[in-house]
Symmetry: C2
Subunit: 355 residues, 2 copies
């Protein structure tokens, strides 16, 4: 009997109650031919091939409930999988989610998580087509995304050739800057759920967006920029549409930047049997990254080159391709091996989960 | 420096070492157009639709490393997902696996797990097309299976109609009996990895198979039968081919028995708006289940009707359909609601993970 304060938990709902509650919050798009509620979902695959990627996220390692809201975690977990689909040049159609939860998890948190998954999928026109729930001591998310290539060849990591250019689309260093701020105790406030219409296409909440012209950042501006970096850690903003765009433009190799640009381009170099040369001056250090670097007294380029979790896209194009404004050329492919910045070798610059 | 006894662990390999090691053990079938090593895999979907199911397995809840070998866990985790695909009437094409592991996990265990996934997929001609690894305190497996319907309509839970018959294919009660034996301290020996050729089509190791005629079980026979029940808990043996067969025969509803027959048929009854009537005398109590029941002094029918984890298939067919020898008719569909056994109502007879 609840007298003073009543938090309804997942344990109160039971497994089937939880599944019913989750399913009830999930509209299904046209690509989902059979949604949640059966042994399996059925998703349209008009191309005759399906692109599939899976990720496992564990509380305490990939997110913290005191640093991110349920809504943030849902958006982030969906985003990193949807970005993998985009990085093949495909358009995401659906995700399925295996969800481990402690029995004392508040139902409000589960609702927010579900809405986060729903809203991030909605950005690309995909749906949460099914899933599985089980009990565990921590929140664990097994997310699998499906996508359709629309007849295009998949853009793998192995097609880069000497003479081609390396370009990036999306944010670099934002999430790493945000994480560093959180680790330094600059926690900000987890972003609560809000209707999708209140956000711009970057996924940033309206009140965190830059207003007017940016001059030299004053005190309020600094706090706003730091807040943007923290928000970027909580919710990546992958440039989904740039994936199929790159495939149409003839990209020879592509991946999403999840472990840090240097490490991820190292995969392209190794898979393609080439060397990638980057020019540090070609990178933008965006204002939130610069503000965080100044606040913490570090070099922002480290975050830009080695920070993970922004899920930017890095692609290699023939030199003659005219790239749209979303892409920034940051280097070139030459014969050889490895990755260099300004002519200097780089080692493993990313994040190895097991070391 | 290792002087006395050297157990190579996942932490020694590092993330990329682990991924390389896993990938190297996984042959790819014809349906996998692009295998592990990129942002996503690409799998053939000739039907133009893809069936997809996901499950999350957590150490301590779905398996115990002291009760099951890595090979057992791999086979079981793959089997329960592949069974979901079969239960739609589809043929599995590929799985992807999100794998959380502690750094001190022995590499031998990881190898055996990988081989278990590989071998269970091989039973149905599927492959492990990709995955993701991360560190965690426990072994966590997020498994997603894909399948192709070959132009058939999916067999859902909602098509059962009064006048039709209920039939089951595959084992019932074996895994529950085996779990009860393990919980009672009758642990047996986890089955080690062995080449696929040494097994029969049931997935049981050669030395556990019945030999010659079974009379009244003597002491050795009892131990052998108990061993079979424990082996059934470690490795389910779903009747995969019966799924597409049922679809071709015109099954109106189907699911795999994962939470117990009564509970799972309750889902069919609810989704179809009908009542399912079962006859207890129609069920077989297989010898391992009977032996375990005698050893523990319980009624074996409880395991048959409410035991999960065997991943038998339960389907509803028009009464006039001639079923092959894999199927056993155990009841009928009538107007009404709920599930009865011998005319008596049954409540929730299965297992709710959150209560």
């Amino acid at each position: 009997m609840c007298v003073r304060r009543c938090v309804i938990t997942v344990g109160d709902l039971g497994e089937f109650g939880a599944v019913t509650r989750i399913s009830g919050r999930l509209p299904q798009g046209a690509a989902v031919l059979l949604g949640p509620g059966d042994d399996a979902a059925m998703v349209s695959a008009p191309d005759g091939r399906v692109v599939v990627s899976t990720d496992l996220l564990v509380e305490g390692r990939h997110f913290r409930r005191d640093w991110s809201s349920g809504y943030d975690v849902g958006r982030k977990a969906a985003a990193q999988n949807l970005a993998d689909i985009a990085a093949m040049g495909a358009v995401p159609t659906a995700i399925v989610v295996g969800l481990g939860m402690p029995a004392d998890l508040p139902v409000d948190w589960l609702d927010a998580l579900t809405d986060g998954f729903r809203d991030e999928c909605a950005v690309v026109g995909a749906s949460v087509a099914g899933g599985d729930t089980t009990r565990g001591d921590l929140v664990v998310l097994g997310v699998t995304a499906l996508g359709d290539l629309g007849g295009r060849a998949p853009v793998t990591r192995s097609g880069a050739r000497p003479g081609q250019v390396v370009a990036v689309a999306g944010r670099l260093g934002h999430a790493a800057a945000g994480l560093a701020l959180l680790e330094a105790g600059r926690t900000g406030t987890p972003t609560e759920e809000r209707p999708l219409g209140e956000e711009d296409r970057t996924g940033r909440p309206a009140e965190d967006r830059p207003r007017g012209r940016a001059g030299r950042a004053g005190g309020d501006d600094v706090e706003r920029l730091l807040g943007e970096a923290v928000a970027a850690h909580r919710r990546p903003c992958p440039p989904y549409a740039c994936g199929p765009e790159a495939a149409r433009l003839g990209a020879s190799a592509m991946l999403d930047v999840s472990d840090g640009l240097l490490q991820d381009l190292g995969h392209v170099a190794a898979a393609s049997g080439v060397r990638v040369e980057l020019d540090s001056a070609a990178f933008a250090v965006d204002a939130p990254v610069a503000a965080a670097a100044e606040a913490l007294g570090v070099d922002p380029l480290g975050w830009v080159l080695t920070g993970g979790d922004d899920h930017a896209l890095a692609a290699v194009f023939p030199a003659e391709v005219r790239l749209g404004p979303s892409w920034r050329v940051v280097g070139r492919v030459v014969a050889g091996q490895g990755v260099s910045v300004d002519g200097r070798e780089t080692g493993h610059g990313g994040w190895d989960h097991f070391r």
